[in-house]
């Protein structure tokens, strides 16, 4: 399959990082970036390829986190199994929210609002329900065995997350080349036209939302294992909804590497501004916000779009770009 070589190259290069440096700071940085890239890849499938902008991906991230943590702590189940169930739980929540909203024909800003509201409802429920530990949150017991999805050092965590990320990249690439992917792009470009041509748009959107939710839930489940603590603000808070959409938008919506690129840029920027801003709270986020505005103003198609544009200037334009349809 075309396009797998770049993914393999990136995967191998990134997998080598722990051999080059044992610095926890570097690995921590990359883990956070990959986590956001993974959550963002989920968003990208629905928002980037399908054009359905969700403002509530926290609903899926949080479900992944809570299912992973709560099943372990309350029912003593195996962590890996809990993680898998967390992904399934996220997918289920995605299917339910998607089913409800797409059946009602919600589009554009209405869809964005309803996802936001669902995430908020889940956050409030999680902050009072006894099973989630309510306001106190849930602590996963320290148990540093690979069977318990916990490791002595950062490196194995890093590789597990990298593997998840690579799977999501490959999955995105497969979707890009599939009939399903073509339907998704078609309905993003013109939903009514796609429908008129016989695409079952509701079903396609529902499928995209379920896959999207599952990927973002995986990021949530990993978060629980890595930090061993969950509360309502972390799991269902707006921060992750924003990060999950910011990464692909800054990197390039509807591209395979967009979310990863965007997440690395956001995190680098975040670290740099933290150094510049010292301990001053908020200053880094002020720069965040300005970058978002600037990206939309000057590079509406993200970094990937910028790269394409620069490349287009360097090489003489070929025939009107039809590459994608030839796949």
């Amino acid at each position: 399959m075309k396009g797998l070589a770049p993914i393999a190259t990136v995967a191998v290069l990134l997998a080598l990082v722990p051999f080059i440096t044992a610095s926890n700071a570097v690995l921590n940085f990359l883990v956070m970036a990959f986590l956001i890239a993974l959550a963002g890849q989920g968003w990208n499938i629905l928002g980037g390829y399908g054009g359905q902008y969700s403002f509530g991906h926290a609903a899926f991230f949080g479900t992944g986190t809570y299912v992973t943590a709560v099943l372990q702590v309350r029912y003593g189940m195996n962590a890996w199994l809990c993680f898998a169930l967390g992904i399934a739980g996220g997918a289920l929540v995605g299917a339910v929210i998607g089913g409800l909203s797409f059946r009602s024909g919600l589009r554009g800003s209405y869809f964005a609002l309803v996802t936001l509201a669902f995430a908020e409802v889940l956050r409030i429920v999680a902050s009072v329900a006894p099973i989630t530990g309510a306001g106190v949150g849930t602590l996963i017991k320290l148990d540093l065995r690979p069977e318990a999805f916990q490791f002595q050092s950062r490196a194995p965590f890093y590789w597990v997350l990298l593997a998840l990320l690579v799977v999501s990249l490959i999955l995105t690439r497969i979707i890009e080349d599939s009939r399903f992917g073509a339907y998704l792009v078609a309905l993003r470009e013109n939903e009514d036209a796609a429908k008129a041509l016989g695409v079952d748009t509701t079903l396609v959107k529902l499928g995209a939302m379920t896959i999207s939710a599952a990927i973002t839930a995986a990021a949530g489940g990993f978060y629980a294992q890595y930090f061993l603590f969950v509360d309502a603000g972390i799991a269902y808070g707006p921060w992750i909804s924003v990060e999950a959409l910011l990464a692909p938008i800054i990197g390039g919506v509807g591209t395979v590497f967009g979310p990863l690129l965007g997440a690395l840029v956001i995190r680098t920027l975040g670290e740099l501004t933290k150094i510049v801003a010292g301990d001053a709270p908020g200053l880094d986020l002020v720069i965040y916000g300005s970058v978002l505005v600037a990206v939309v103003a000057f590079a509406p198609r993200g970094i990937a779009g910028l790269i394409e544009r620069v490349r287009g200037r360097l090489t003489p334009p070929a025939a009107p770009s039809l590459e994608r349809s030839h796949g």
Partner: protein
């Protein structure tokens, strides 16, 4: 059943709270109705206005109700400039871009306030903040009664202005048919900015009405955003009367669900209502069918 001794004050208090919600929603619905965008910076702008009202009192000793008289024009100017020189040009006319630009602005404003004033929660002390009036057998806080009156007056004023002034007519024309309005000589970019300015001015007044009994911190405005969205959707996006009725309705729902479900779960009533309305009647309870 709970007796009327509790229900009547709960109803009245709900109406008072609802009036303030309605004013936040009025700004939002104006902006939505004309620009067809969801303004995610609304909460952050409200927070900024709360800080302005707070410091006007703390540093200059100006009563919040007096401050409203100059903060409203000031925030009109801020809103006008934001739309004319930032949001409009950055958005390239695409809805999703506007969404993102306002989101970016929200993050910027909120964190600039956090940076400048830290996360501390501040309140002001006014001699009349705890005065109450007795209506029937319920006691109502004076600032809340004042807020109620001001909001009703502003809603009425806006409603008349939209109907009978040239600017109001131009705003409605742009909302209905942008291209047609442009062809008949209306400066659309200017009308967009005026609308955004009006919406922002509503927030300045809201802040002045809230500050006597409320607090301010860099996240204070956020509490109102989803509620305002709910009201806007409920009242029909773009409808002034709908926002007013929707606001009062939501205030009462919140008051009663707080009574029956407790403080923290009480908020859920609003969101559940929001989701139900979005799913089953997205044109709103009072709006026209889309």
């Amino acid at each position: 059943m709970v007796s009327s001794v509790i229900l009547v004050p709960a109803l009245l208090n709900g109406l008072m709270t609802g009036a303030v919600y309605a004013l936040v929603a009025l700004g939002l619905t104006l902006i939505y109705g004309v620009l067809h965008i969801i303004n995610f910076a609304h909460g952050a702008l409200l927070t900024a206005a709360l800080f302005a009202a707070f410091f006007a009192n703390k540093l200059l000793g100006i009563d919040p109700y007096v401050a409203a008289l100059f903060l409203a024009p000031l925030f009109f100017g801020i809103g006008y400039a934001l739309q004319r020189f930032v949001i409009g040009p950055a958005a390239h006319g695409e809805d999703r871009n506007i969404l993102l630009v306002t989101l970016g602005l929200a993050v910027m404003i909120e964190n600039a306030l956090l940076y400048a004033f830290r996360a501390d929660t501040r309140t002001i002390n006014l001699s009349y903040a705890f005065d109450v009036v007795e209506i029937g057998n319920s006691f109502l806080a004076v600032p809340r009664v004042v807020a109620f009156g001001v909001v009703v007056a502003i809603a009425a004023l806006l409603w008349f202005a939209m109907r009978w002034t040239d600017t109001g007519k131009a705003i409605r024309a742009v909302a209905k048919e942008k291209l047609g309005a442009e062809l008949s000589g209306i400066n659309v970019a200017h009308i967009y900015a005026v609308t955004f300015g009006l919406g922002t001015a509503c927030l300045a007044v809201t802040a002045c009405l809230l500050i006597p009994t409320y607090y301010v911190n860099p996240h204070a405005g956020n509490a109102f955003v989803l509620i305002a969205f709910t009201i806007v959707v409920l009242g029909g996006m773009g409808s002034v009367a709908g926002a007013m009725l929707g606001g009062l309705f939501v205030g009462v729902v919140e008051s009663f669900s707080g009574l029956y479900l407790g403080e923290s779960l009480g908020q859920i009533g609003i969101f559940v209502m929001f989701i139900l309305v979005l799913l089953f009647r997205p044109s709103g309870l009072f709006g026209e069918r889309a």
